[in-house]
């Protein structure tokens, strides 16, 4: 087994290179996943517990969701969830070799970006 390491030129000038769109979907999948774990799992469990506990708490949680800040948080959750779900479906398809060529992979990344933002926008309008 050869362990020779090729010295290849590195080009990491961040002002002239940019992340290709599948890379953008990938890092956003990671960021949205971390946000879902850090913020939205505990928040969701609190909301589930509260809304199921009693009539008063249900009303309190419904009232809270009428506040602008809570709506912004909910919209953040909707985007993180929609992006993570859609990008996840894309990865499942890539796993079974659907759309692994360059052009389809770029197209499906764009679809994920547009669709997740569209879902967020639609639900945001409905919410507000």
């Amino acid at each position: 087994m050869s362990i020779a390491v090729k010295r290849r030129p590195k080009h990491l000038d961040l002002f002239t290179i940019q992340l290709p769109i599948p890379g953008l979907v990938s890092i956003l999948h990671r960021i949205s996943g971390a946000a879902l774990f850090l913020l939205f799992i505990p928040l969701g469990l609190f909301a589930l517990q509260g809304s199921l506990a009693s009539e008063q708490e249900f009303t309190a949680w419904s009232g809270l969701l009428a506040k602008p800040l809570a709506k912004l948080v909910l919209i953040g959750f909707i985007w993180a969830w929609a992006h993570h779900l859609l990008a996840g479906i894309r990865y499942l398809l890539l796993d079974v070799h659907v759309g692994i060529q360059l052009q389809p992979a770029r197209l499906s990344s764009k679809i994920v970006m547009v669709l997740s933002l569209a879902i967020t926008l639609l639900l945001a309008i409905k919410l507000w």
């Binding site: 087994m1 990671r30 996943g33 971390a34 199921l52 009539e55 249900f58 009303t59 996840g88 499942l92």
Partner: protein, 115 residues
């Protein structure tokens, strides 16, 4: 001379597969609940509570939540492995994540079966 390539314990493949299996479980549950909620949106406390009354719905919800927690464990572990290089710090954070997820799992059971 025997040359061997050390490739680890292979648990990575099982986790990779479970991450995808839990993803499919979550997607199926979300579609199911989404359809139920769209057909009759719970406008008040009693209809919301009634949704969680059948035993099968509690079990399905628990399976979904356990799927979320295991999926989150694999994802968070991957993130920590990629970005946190000092072993002690990484192990500490991994333990914190694991403990939080185990606590969430216990909490979920109490929420679902107290209704």
């Amino acid at each position: 001379m025997v040359t061997r390539v050390v490739v680890g314990a292979h648990y990575g493949l099982g986790d990779w597969l479970l991450q995808r299996l839990t993803a499919v479980v979550m997607a199926v549950y979300l579609v199911m609940v989404g359809v139920v909620l769209l057909c009759n949106p719970p406008s008040d406390y009693l209809t919301w509570k009634a949704l969680f009354a059948p035993q099968w719905f509690r079990v399905a919800s628990l399976i979904f939540l356990l799927g979320v927690f295991y999926h989150a464990w694999i994802g968070m572990r991957d993130i920590l492995m990629d970005y946190v290089k000092p072993v002690a710090v990484r192990l500490g954070l991994e333990v914190l994540v694991a403990l939080a997820l185990i606590a969430y799992a216990c909490w979920s059971i109490t929420i679902l079966w107290r209704v």
